[in-house]
């Protein structure tokens, strides 16, 4: 129950699709999605494998709750060795695709090998088939989505695809499903492209069952009520989306601006949730049209926006005059504050392009910011940029670079490398605001100290979704801690990391944890799944997953030295705001973190720890 107990194994080299039973022993230890998918990957690949070689594997995994009526239970993750990082990668996405995969009767798809020529996979319930993607290669995500629904004449099909970015080896290409939901980070789309796999199109009409329906309905109903009554999940997120954070984080002095030169953006309001909802001066209509929920989600934080038809980005492009996925906080920050651009319509357009061509707006915005930094320093000149003036704050340049990066043309080809490779290429590695090769998201570790540790130790490279201590340090969830203090942050980060790993593995959205603790989540999982699931077993499962991921990275060649932050954050103090004068206190937090993790002083899990967790 909850699990379909079926895995689809697709060998792209031989072109075969085979069914195999899910390893239930593993499922009971690792739940599903992130945990279980990672377990399969680690058991099946050499950790030293080149991420873009046919020997890497690509796993689409649902969780046991995916496709049930638990709030937000529609998610899936893509697990692979990340192209951008060379570390374990697990990118989580919402929309409807994950639930559809489950309804078709599959817990997981494992792709292995590499197709000789471009292919896509269609799944209609039990029937999985590879087809030539000759006519799809070169198409955007949006065109691919439409083409597949048309080819199969199945409007209810849900498609996850790569765009041109993934085909052409943009190192932070994503896999986009349902037009604007994405397994976004670490270059999972790049891996998909390297396998000549264009898309997965699914239609499922079989049901999902749970172990104990009566208990499940009761537990999920209680969960939904809690979400509804919570200020963040019941009011803030539905009304403003994640963009509710823009002004809050800016005021906290933790909004990284112009490649982390500053911690506050003077135009934060112009690109905030409030601005999205206000009527535009140009046409009197707001940027934001509606909010959209992912499958089963009772929060509905998703933004649906429409660009002003007279805006310079689209005035001659009616094909962009429709509604589509609007700005989430991370994208608005990366495309806006990080590059110093305050034109909301331009950011929305750049975000559309990211979705259309399938690449991560966080890594793109940050890489562009790093390139701007180098340009302003004179390291990059017009000669290298193809005549483009890479100045902070230019909306025209931002949107032009978004287009070029989407197609991997001109200087866009260099931006497609990601900030680490780009900055190394020009001898300024320290200007890349990244950990393990992955760019930071939208929280400055000088203003939110816990996030510095979370970034440094995140198994997939810098990331906000591995241990979101912002909840505690800024929003006071579950309890308020001082964002400027380093004391106690090691334990806080660990607790967030372990809990998040469990939530990710269940098929739920991490945003539920603004309102839910494991006490709310455990009864839902316990009612749905075999086995005895309590807050303690979930936490243990999360810790097990964390250590398993860590071990993979160490085996892949990472060391404790990679648990670090760029010099700028350690040496240059914040210039304004509450954190004025502060740098990141990572050196104070990291040793303690290793200790609470049960790792040695080099960051290697001890035998006792691994034995205790059964890794």
């Amino acid at each position: 129950m909850a699990w379909t107990r079926k895995i689809l194994r697709v060998n792209l080299t031989t072109g075969t699709c085979e069914t195999e039973p899910l390893n239930m022993e593993w499922a009971k230890k690792y739940l599903g999605q992130r945990g279980l998918g990672t377990k399969y990957l680690i058991e099946e690949i050499d950790p030293k494998v080149d991420p873009l070689s046919p020997d890497n594997k690509l796993i689409f995994a649902t969780g046991p709750l995916t496709g049930t009526c638990a709030s937000t239970a529609g998610r899936y993750s893509v697990i692979t060795k990340g192209a951008l990082t060379g570390a374990i990668a697990c990118s989580n996405s919402g929309g409807y695709f994950g639930a559809e995969l489950k309804f078709a009767g599959w817990d997981m798809i494992i792709f292995e090998g590499k197709a000789k020529r471009p292919v896509y996979l269609s799944i209609v319930d039990d029937k999985a088939e590879l087809h030539s993607a000759k006519d799809l290669w070169g198409k955007s995500v949006w065109d691919t989505d439409a083409a597949l629904k048309s080819i199969h004449q199945e409007p209810m099909m849900h498609v996850a695809a790569i765009g041109v970015a993934g085909e052409k080896g943009n190192m932070y290409a994503c896999i986009v499903n349902d037009l604007h939901r994405a397994a976004g980070r670490s270059g999972v789309g790049t891996v998909m492209g390297s396998k000549n796999l264009k898309a997965v199109a699914v239609r499922g009409t079989q049901g999902v069952s749970v172990e104990n329906f009566r208990a499940f309905m009761k537990a999920t109903e209680a969960g939904k009520k809690t979400l509804q009554e919570n200020a963040v999940t019941g009011e803030g997120l539905p009304a403003y989306g994640t963009q509710v954070l823009m002004n809050v984080i800016n005021e906290s002095g933790a909004l990284p601006t112009r490649n982390f030169h500053d911690v506050q953006f003077e135009s934060a309001h112009d690109i905030s949730a409030e601005a999205m909802a206000e009527p535009r001066r140009s046409d009197g209509k707001p940027n934001l049209l509606a909010n959209q929920a992912c499958f089963s989600c009772t929060i509905a934080c998703g933004r649906i926006s429409k660009i002003d038809e007279n805006h310079f980005t689209v005035v001659n492009k009616p094909e962009y005059w429709h509604a589509s996925g609007g700005l989430e906080y991370e994208a608005a920050w990366a495309l806006g504050a990080a590059t110093g651009v305050k034109d909301l319509e331009a950011l929305t357009y750049a975000n559309f392009i990211c979705n259309e061509q399938g690449y991560d707006p966080i890594s793109f915005g940050s890489t562009l910011a790093a390139a701007m930094d180098m340009y302003e320093e004179g390291i990059l000149t017009k000669k290298q940029t193809g005549g483009v003036e890479l100045k902070f704050g230019s909306a025209e340049m931002l949107t032009q670079m978004a287009e070029m990066t989407g197609k991997c043309e001109g200087f866009g080809k260099q931006l497609a490398l990601g900030s680490k490779r780009l900055c190394e290429k020009y001898g300024r590695a320290e200007l890349s605001m990244s950990v393990k090769g992955q760019e930071f998201p939208a929280y400055d570790p000088r203003g939110i100290q816990g996030m510095g540790l979370a970034y440094a130790t995140s198994n997939r490279g810098a990331c906000h979704l591995r241990g979101y201590t912002v909840a505690s340090e800024i929003l006071g969830i579950p309890e308020k801690t001082d964002p400027l203090a380093t004391d106690g942050k090691a334990g806080l980060v660990k607790a967030f990391q372990d809990a998040t790993a469990a939530v990710d593995s269940a098929g739920l959205c991490v945003f539920t944890t603004f309102a839910w603790t494991l006490e709310d989540i455990a009864p839902q999982i316990d009612a749905a799944c075999e086995g005895n699931w309590t807050p303690d077993t979930l936490l243990e499962s999360g810790e097990r997953i964390w250590n398993m991921e860590r071990k993979f990275n160490l085996d892949a060649g990472f060391t404790g030295k990679d648990d670090s932050l760029p010099k700028r954050l350690l040496k240059d103090a914040a210039k304004t705001g509450p954190a004025k004068g502060l740098t990141s206190g990572l050196d104070k937090m990291l040793p303690e973190y290793y200790q609470v993790r049960g790792w040695n002083n080099k960051g290697v899990p001890t035998k006792e720890t691994l034995n205790r967790l059964g890794v």
Binding site: V124, K149, S150, H152, Q153, E154, P155
Partner: protein, 415 residues
């Protein structure tokens, strides 16, 4: 008022009920000649496979339904109608006066002029009595030959296969259900049946039947068939209008009626398979011989008989068929008409097909294979003559988006 209804099928029963609804005091007589309570031919295939009992075929499920409504149900055969004297003459010579008359006599199966069609073991599948006989003869393992793969033949086909017989289908035309669907759909059905172990011979004619003593030898114009234990004739139906000869009631293939379902003779109406009434899709008068039209006719005719002037816009031809699990349907001018444009989705491998016919930006006909969701929307769009606007182009490229187009049009604001 003294209402008399000849025929106790769906048209007759609905008419009787509608009359009672609008005329609490009038006398209503419903006449059937099969010696059964009013039942539904549509349900016979399900009786054949024991999905329902005989009772399950009855049009109304409560025993005292007609008594409660004070509808006299009389079992008798009407031999002729004297419209001048407003009198019916029964087979036993008795007579009955009427004030207003509804002809709902339905149709009868055609028996083609083939030698041996009168042999024992040869049956039509039209009445409950026919079904009882077929129920006996179509034993598991028996070889059964079905003559005709039209709509009715195809419905019977499913029941026969489910009874476990070895089945051969012989159809004169080049495909199955030639009057319900086009060659792509008809051949899809044929291939589907073949894949399920049914022998389907299209473009083939039964020339002669003879009794070998061990069963029926079935002669064909080409090819051979094993000896059959049962031959089921499903070669089409004709309206029951023979008894109207000399009555002054105008007939063509059925009783010609106006948009109030009244014949050329005042106070004589017709409904159902016997009525040649307006076909919504063509505007011509046509015998549709389908359940929904029979019900519509019955209701409308009754309202007019009760004195409520109610006009019939026409009935839409439509059919739905389940052939061994493959569901197919057709609506309106599915074959298109002059100046119409066709959108097709053909997926032979997965037995899926959708064909839409547009005149301008309006849907005028449709057929589907392998689909079962939201089919009624096809009727809704055709019948409402909804202008599809830009959705038409969308549907020309992707016919399967018809449900979206429907909901969008219904909710006005959506393009």
């Amino acid at each position: 008022m003294n209402y008399v209804i000849i025929g106790a099928g769906p048209a007759g029963v609905v008419a009787a009920e509608t009359l009672r609804k609008h005329d609490a005091k009038g006398s209503i007589t419903l006449i059937g000649d099969e010696g059964e309570p009013p039942y539904s031919r549509m349900a016979l295939p399900y009786y054949l496979i024991d999905k329902i009992s005989e009772q399950g075929t009855y049009l109304r499920q409560t025993a005292d339904h007609y008594d409660n409504l004070k509808i006299k149900y009389r079992q008798a055969h009407v031999n002729s109608v004297d419209t001048k004297a407003k009198t019916l003459v029964f087979g036993d010579g008795k007579t009955l006066k009427y004030g207003k008359l509804l002809l709902a006599t339905g149709a009868h199966p055609i028996r083609p002029p083939v030698t041996g069609l009168d042999l024992p073991g040869v049956h039509t599948c039209w009445t409950l009595e026919d079904a009882r006989k077929i129920h006996q003869l179509a034993q598991s393992g028996a070889h059964v030959v079905l003559m005709g793969a039209g709509f009715i033949g195809s419905i019977v086909l499913e029941a026969l296969v489910m009874k476990g017989v070895s089945l051969s289908v012989v159809e004169m035309e080049d495909r199955m259900v030639p009057r319900m669907m086009d060659d792509i759909a008809g051949n899809m059905l044929k291939n589907w049946c073949k894949s399920k172990g049914v022998r389907v011979l299209t473009g083939t004619r039964i020339t002669e039947l003879s009794d070998t003593g061990k069963g029926l030898k079935v002669g064909l114009n080409k090819g051979k068939l094993p000896v059959a234990q049962l031959v089921v004739v499903a070669a089409g139906v004709q309206s029951n209008i023979g008894f109207l000869k000399g009555s002054g009631i105008k007939t063509d293939v059925g009783v010609l009626v106006d948009d109030r379902l009244q014949s050329n003779v005042e106070d004589v109406y017709a409904a159902g398979d016997v009525a040649q009434a307006k076909d919504l899709s063509t505007g011509e008068r046509n015998v549709l011989a389908i359940q929904p039209a029979a019900v519509e006719h019955g209701r409308l005719a009754a309202m007019n008989m009760a004195g409520l002037d109610t006009r019939h816009r026409g009935s839409l031809p439509m059919n739905i068929l389940d052939t061994l699990g493959l569901i197919s349907s057709s609506f309106g001018q599915w074959m298109g008409t002059k100046g119409s444009e066709t959108a097709k989705m053909v997926d032979k491998k997965n037995y899926r097909y959708l064909r839409l016919e547009f005149l301008g930006d309006r849907l005028i006909g449709a057929q589907s294979v392998g689909m079962s969701d939201h089919l009624g929307m096809l009727r809704g769009l055709i019948q409402s003559e909804t202008s599809l606007g830009p959705w038409k182009q969308t549907l020309m490229a992707s016919p399967s988006r018809i449900a979206e187009a429907y909901v969008a049009k219904m909710h006005g604001s959506l393009g």
